[in-house]
Amino acid sequence: MTEQYEETEERKSTYAPFIIGAGLALLFFGLVVFVPLAIGGGAVVAAGLFMLFRDSVEEKFADLKETVGEKWPVDFLSKRKLGVWVFLMSEILIFGSLIVGYIFVRFSSGSWPVATQVHNVTLGMTNTIILLTSSLAIVFALVSIRSGNTRGLKIGLLGTFALGAAFLIIKLGFEWPAYYRNGFTISSGLPGSTYFVLTGLHAAHVAGGLVAVGYLIARTYQGGFTKDNHAAIENIGLYWHFVDIVWMFLFPLFYLI
């Protein structure tokens, strides 16, 4: 009877997961053994992600029609949104562990440089405000599309993208080179190590968020979002705000304390 259960169901297949898995393995293998291989691996991963995005744009993998079932205690939540929240939970644990590690090594160390002498508070504050504004922009996009305003959606998403990119440019283009010139580098000791690894991982999350927002923009220009069909904006927005929240802690921990 289980066979019959399958018969009635449309099978969906894609190479993307296989390609992403193989690409990641190739990327890591290349990093260790032979760096050009890693570039190839990165390209393979990008191809796999592109396949996923294309499928999503075509809505090939639109949710299986959900039957009426038991959903307590989160009756009104779509499963994607719940999935995003569970994912954010794991992200909280990663960044939380790293921050605990930072505090641990900082207290274990005998001396630690005064934050304001090493770090550029002005740039840090500017970046904080930029990130807050980008959060506002993606909220604006969501509010717009809820009332069917596609123009507002485009402005909001493009604004988010621009502000996120500005954050990365300020950090990678101005802040970090200045630190390196001052001799505060990733291998100059625990203060440098913690700063560059934590903010670097955060910057990687911002970059990932930019890719996701780029996908939203692409889909917007294809007319993929309507008043009733815009869950992706909300879900990616949740992630974007999370990245924002992480920075709310990294900024004072590194720049002010």
Binding site: V74, W85, L93, S97, V121, L136, V143, F249, F251
Partner: protein, 85 residues
């Protein structure tokens, strides 16, 4: 869902809190006490973002348990790390 005006207000509050943090830093005083104040402001900002931008406030209450559980796990880790120093 609240209006854009409301969100603008939240954003203004967050920016003000950020400026306040930086200003707090320049107040002369006990380093530890000021650090605690700054971290409290940051936590307030984080909660505000979660409540309004991530609209946890308007969601099913059970959903808030997920981030809260994660934060509790981290607090476990932090306390133990602190004590094993």
């Amino acid at each position: 869902m609240p209006t854009m005006k409301f969100y603008l207000g939240i954003w203004a509050g967050l920016v003000a809190a950020t400026v306040m943090e930086v200003v707090t830093r320049s107040i002369p005083g006990a380093f530890a006490a000021i650090s605690v104040i700054i971290l409290l402001i940051s936590s307030g900002k984080a909660v505000t973002i979660a409540m309004y931008f991530q609209h946890l406030r308007y969601e099913n209450k059970s959903l808030a348990l997920l981030p809260i559980a994660a934060v509790i796990g981290i607090i476990f880790l932090a306390i133990a790390a602190w004590m094993s120093m």
